[in-house]
């Protein structure tokens, strides 16, 4: 018997679709100060560090690597880990990022992939990583950044996604969880914040979808990976 999970109660049988329900009292605004405190608690002090772009692309056989990545494209337009492996949003993010960095985005079928990606959005507004799985805030990054890279971010409902991401916040501790009501952790906090940035939240710096770093940092070192429009 398949079981669907909704927040902390179990609903239905395998006849039900997997999604979460956002409670009416879920957080609906960005709790910036809470998150700042949460993240700061993990480090002792802020140290400057230099970013280096080591430019080591020439040490690998890029053509062969591109060939391999493209061989991981599946019948549904998505990418798996290896040829034949199930399409998965995390893998797709790696592949689109890779194709961007190697200047090979034109090899994608952007319409087909964009369709598969926008199908990740569930009625709750959240995104899952593959069909018939629960939404998870980290897919707000993997899926959203992929869509941004291939120029189809407008194919998801932004308002609904924003609502889902905000509902994943913990009002007491700060930070974001994988889905509303769960425990927060730094991983999901990063991707919740990054996802909100991609959606255009003005309180957050612009983030680069390929490298998941602030755009101003990349501009400083002159690194602007390709995106499709």
């Amino acid at each position: 018997m398949g079981v669907s999970i909704s927040n902390d109660h179990v609903i239905g049988t395998s006849a039900q679709l997997k999604d979460v329900i956002i409670k009416p009292d879920a957080p609906s605004s960005l709790l910036l100060d809470k998150h700042a405190d949460y993240i700061a608690a993990y480090g002792s002090k802020k140290d400057d560090y230099t970013t280096t772009n080591s430019g080591k692309m020439d040490t690998i056989n890029v053509d062969k690597a591109v060939e391999f990545v493209l061989s991981c494209m599946n019948f549904d337009g998505g990418f798996g880990c290896r040829p034949g492996s199930e399409s998965h949003a995390g893998q797709i993010y790696c592949c689109t990022g890779f194709l961007s960095l190697t200047g090979q985005l034109h090899q994608l079928n952007a319409d087909l992939l964009g369709w598969w990606l926008c199908e990740r959005q569930l009625p709750s507004g959240g995104l899952n990583g593959r069909p018939e799985k629960l939404p998870d805030v980290c897919y707000s990054w993997w899926v959203l950044a992929s869509l941004k890279i291939i120029g189809r971010i407008h194919w998801i409902d932004k308002a609904k996604l924003r609502r889902f991401i905000l509902a994943c916040q913990d009002e007491e501790t700060g930070g974001f969880a994988d889905r509303p009501g769960d425990m927060v952790d730094p991983f999901h906090t990063l991707f919740g914040v990054a996802g909100l940035s991609l959606l255009g939240d003005e309180q957050i710096k612009a983030v680069n979808p390929v490298l998941c770093m602030p755009e101003d940092v990349l501009q400083r070192i002159g690194l602007q990976p390709d995106l499709l429009s």
Partner: protein, 370 residues
Amino acid sequence: MSSVQEASTETTEVKEQKEFEGDADEQFGESFGADPTRYTFYRDRKEWADLEPVPQDDGPNPVVKIAYSDKFADVYDYFRALLKKDEKSERALALTADAIELNAANYTVWHYRRVLLQALSKDLREEMKYITNIIEEQPKNYQVWHHRRMVVEWLNDPSEELEFIADILSQDAKNYHAWQHRQWVIQEYKLWDKELEFVETLLEEDVRNNSAWNQRHFVISHTTGFSDPAVVQREIQYCLNQIRKAPHNESAWNYLKGMLQDRGLSSQPGLLEKVLELKETHCSPYLLAFLFDCYEDALEFSSQKENTEQEQKETLKKALEICELLAQEKDTIRKEYWQFLGRSVKNKYGGDGPSVAEEAKPSVPASETS
């Protein structure tokens, strides 16, 4: 968590003490000294006194320094010492198990363990048991699955694999690692025979298991292929049967579309009619999307079918109606996509067809602003 009460207070007391100390490793008898429940750090074990522990070097300005426990730091200080010395010994092998228990994602430890297994000519069947235990505890760890693959290759014996993977899948039918390992085993050792049957069993249990549908595609494409019309017919029938049982099934529709799209959706005799029939009783956004794909395919290949201009117009009209229906009513969350599709077919195939009701202006393609 067990809801069973502890049988004796003695057991409870020992358990609490173990939890206080951290995990007590019963397999490493010599590390206990007088009290068998007390864990001894490597630095306090006399049989390790010859080795100088090597602390972790985080560099001059660590940004987010991990707060390792004493136990963790101690084990890994000695692991680094072994690496530095390139020591190949039983005690080193035993230590790798401790290191793995503390962090099963450390691939350097796994690599070293493999070096040791070979250098010491260890019993690989015993190693398989060890691997099985780790996977049962941590079924989503990448490194242990890779390790299993290596050992299976060394043994050149996949005989336990399908059953083992089936067991892991019985606990989580969508475990990505399990499926990937399964695909490797089947492809490497040509164990295709019963796999379609296995897939069908899983789909009986959960017809929405996308991993199982993916596996179905994998098996068929590597065995009979999809060129044989009899196979295609059988698969179409299978899909439609599953859809009747659970209409709102993304995987089944994706599979159907994926299988047919290169061959031409509209080239399958009777398929369109069957889908139109299903539309009355088992409709879903996926069905409608599939219908659209059929119409689009018909428009694309109209020259081969000698469609009349009137038929073309009719088909275009139906395609646009579906986009409208999806955008406005049946799948509004993806309204932008359906409107894009509507515009695309209209631009490509018609000029006189009805337009899809749109927002005030067409969507702006994604640029740097969002």
